[in-house]
Amino acid sequence: MRDAAGSIPFTFDGKAYAGQPGDTLAAALIANGVRLVARSFKLHRPRGIMGAGVEEPSALVTVGEGARAEPNARATDVFLYPGLVARSQNAWPSLAFDVGAVNSLAAALIPAGFYYKTFFGPPSRWMLYERFIRRAAGLGKPPQAPDPDHYGHRSAFCDVLVVGAGPAGLAAALTAVDAGKRVILIEQDAAPGGSLLRERVTIDGEPGVVWAANVADRIRAGGGRVLLRTTVSGYWDDNFLTAVERRVEPGQPAEGDAQVLWRVRAGEVVLATGTIERPLVFANNDLPGVMMAGAARALALRHGVAPGRRAVIATSHDEAYRTAFALADLGVEIVAILDSRTQASGPLVEAARARFVVHAGARPLRAIRRGIGLAGVDALIDGAKRRLLADCLAMSGGASPVLHLHRQAGGALEYDAARGGFLPGAGRQRHVSIGAAAGEHDLSAILTLARVVDPLGPGSPPAPGPLWHDEAPGKAFVDFQNDVTTLDLALAQREGYVSVEHTKRYTTLGMGTDQGKTGAMVALAQIADLRGVPLPDAGLTTFRPPYTPVTMGAFAGPMKGDHAAPIRRLPLAAAHDALGALWVPAGAWMRPRAYLAPDETVAQASLREARMVRASVGVVDVSSLAKFEIAGPDAVDLVAAVCATPVAKLAIGRGRYTVMLREDGMVMDDGTLWRLAEDRWLITSSTGGAARMARHLTYVADVLLGHPRAAVVDVGEHWAGLALAGPQAAAVLSGLTGAEAPAHMGLGDAVIAGVPVRVLAASYSGERAFEVHVPGHLARAVFDALVGAARGLGGGVYGLDAMDHLRVEKGHVVIGAEADGRVTPADLGLGGVLRKTGGYVGWQALQRPALVGPVGRRHLVGLTSVDHTPIAEGAMLVMREGEPPLGHVTTAAPRVAQDGAIALGLLTDGATRHGQIMLAWSPTRRSTVPVRVGPPLFYDAQGARYRD
């Protein structure tokens, strides 16, 4: 018996209470006389506490304050902590007087699926009704602020994972530990023991709870990992399970992670998940004061809390008799035990008969309401209706093994007619169910190696309660949270929603936060009865993860804020920061977009930088470009298979532009190909395509070519790349290296600032230009030297936007913009650079009729703004506004070399439209710009400037 005064202060709906250590919020509320805890989802009926753990369907409350408020917490699954703040939800203005309860009066108007039959008219009218429906629906108030808590992820591997630290799970885990296995034992409760927490047995001379704690200690001592307050929520393929550890209670601030998502790969899984008690179906079986018999027993024996003063026990099997003893021992008056069986015998029943009034063949018909709670029950006793006055009705309609994880794992089911339910059959993965979860109800049989003493003696196996045939007026619930009644089930059957999945979806049966843990089997029995089929033929809905609701933040774990996805940094990121770079995301990379002078816009800075390159010299960081070295005697075969351009005749020390195709003939990537040595090649390609290209190269090597004598070495991150461009580029380079710069498309080794570098003479800007490759960790000195020398000649650094302006003027394409995955090389005007002999990936697909035909393809074109107005990137190319587009603007840019605005575009039959005036029309931006179509080249058409 507990002390009257509690030591842990908490509040519920603003009123101060106190509870005791180890109390659940539910236990503490009942101990303080609070019986009305919640309002139901649809009908706003008053609800109290029904269960004792995660299965609780009704007592949902919001726990915590401010940003830590957690809606829809089960009062039975929150352990008390000092200062806990709980609030009722889904009630206005107050829990006791809830306007929404008018729904209860209108219940006849809103049966299951009523919304499918009304609210017609245009969607706008439906949305009007919908607004009210949405407000009425939902349970707790949503969080508004960012979550202040942190969540962790943790992997774990074991030989044996035991789920559930009840007697069966403890014994199994201990056995496995003793056999030298790596063992993890996971228990959702805060203490080991499972059913022992609510029974009064001794095991090996110790109280069951003490035995459980000792076994847990021995498992730990043997090297096993015991995780309490941790729920296995998902059983995925290949014995991979996810479990959520609560390190603090809902609403409680944490010093470290509030929750940890465990990701466990197990050799064997032992499911000792126990059972969940089933309700009885009768009118008003949802009233506060009606609860599960096992929950009442847990309140009494675990928490020392009496759930009422006068109790009726209603049951269909022996187990609930234990509740009568437990409550009576706390001083609760047991009005009667109603046993639906006409014949009931055995030691437990006999012991009860000696102490209590026991009615066989008796069952509740209707719970009587006074105010918001239970006043009594009309029962069928000896064939007649009798009213019993009681403020607690403890019911049990059998017990269902917890099969969720077994089913998630793909395990089979076996129907057990005696218990009116399913037992786990063969597993599909490596798992086995034991104990009560496997249908064993006798503790002595579960703990064969221990000496179990049960003062009340063994009981019979759980058996299902009677079916409900509307013998009394009032709603008889099968899904308490979603307010699904037997009438709803009947309506669904009548309307042809016969498949259990249809019934579920039509009535919302089992779709609440409890996912039907308590009511599913009784509902199934009712459905089978309505259909006149045996229960197993009524079907069963799918069990899906998670077993109990999981905080979204726990799934995300460390993937939060900047870690939501990795950000990739350039090796010279610090140097760019020092130069005042404005960063821009490019996929996962952050790259310098521009280096803004005071009071400069991005556009101004980029144009200034681009003009600097045209006028003198600039340095741009191109380190994120993909780079691969292909080395070995057969390297040329691999290069030739991947690159669609001529390869074999490329001289050592020379490079050329190349393009790589997908198997459907579309341009996958482009870049430059260099021959570093007789049997060593370097391919550069786009930043965004790096991962795809890495994979493609090894696919071609290992799968298509069958392991040629050629290695594919991804040197993308090894080499930082610094492009040096402009009329002064060669001067800068030779000034630093003391050697002549390589000729255009030539390469050479050099030393800059004491660091050996590789210089590739390639131009993207149209100016004389070089890419200086230097190992990333040595790049800073080289960068500083290049920038310093460039500045000395009136140049400096430039960013991505300036680089883009420069390349647009030269008509160079970008993967993703012009090469949008839907263009062939010919579309881009690159048909001439392809090898005529084929033999590269994608050559066959280019022979398809629609690709070889001259008409209907989109071609790369250059667009010049007729009146110098900037062109909107992405704008449609039309002859007149409102006409179907013939193409679109892929990239827009200011002219660098002179005033004006230009763009690249893809235009249907564009090669034949040079000289036409069209409109670049962007209705979303209200921009229409006349443009002249021409070749995609605006600058130095002869290519004089980039040659040496």
Partner: protein, 79 residues
Amino acid sequence: MLLIPCPHCGPRNQEEFAYERTLDSVVRLNDAPELAIATLYARANPRGQEHEIWSHTCGQWLRLTRDRISHAIHSVEPL
């Protein structure tokens, strides 16, 4: 969450692997165009076993015989 036996590294988690295609959909460099297109665009897509090509993050390409309903891996060979 598959556990895939990499011939080089041993069993590793699914996230380290990438599915490429079915074994019968490999387009050879010298296949004639009609055959190449037919190979690329026709898949048996069985509700059952299929021979597939996957790659592992260690660089190993592998051939898996895998059931597309049970997710059971019946055999794995290096490619």
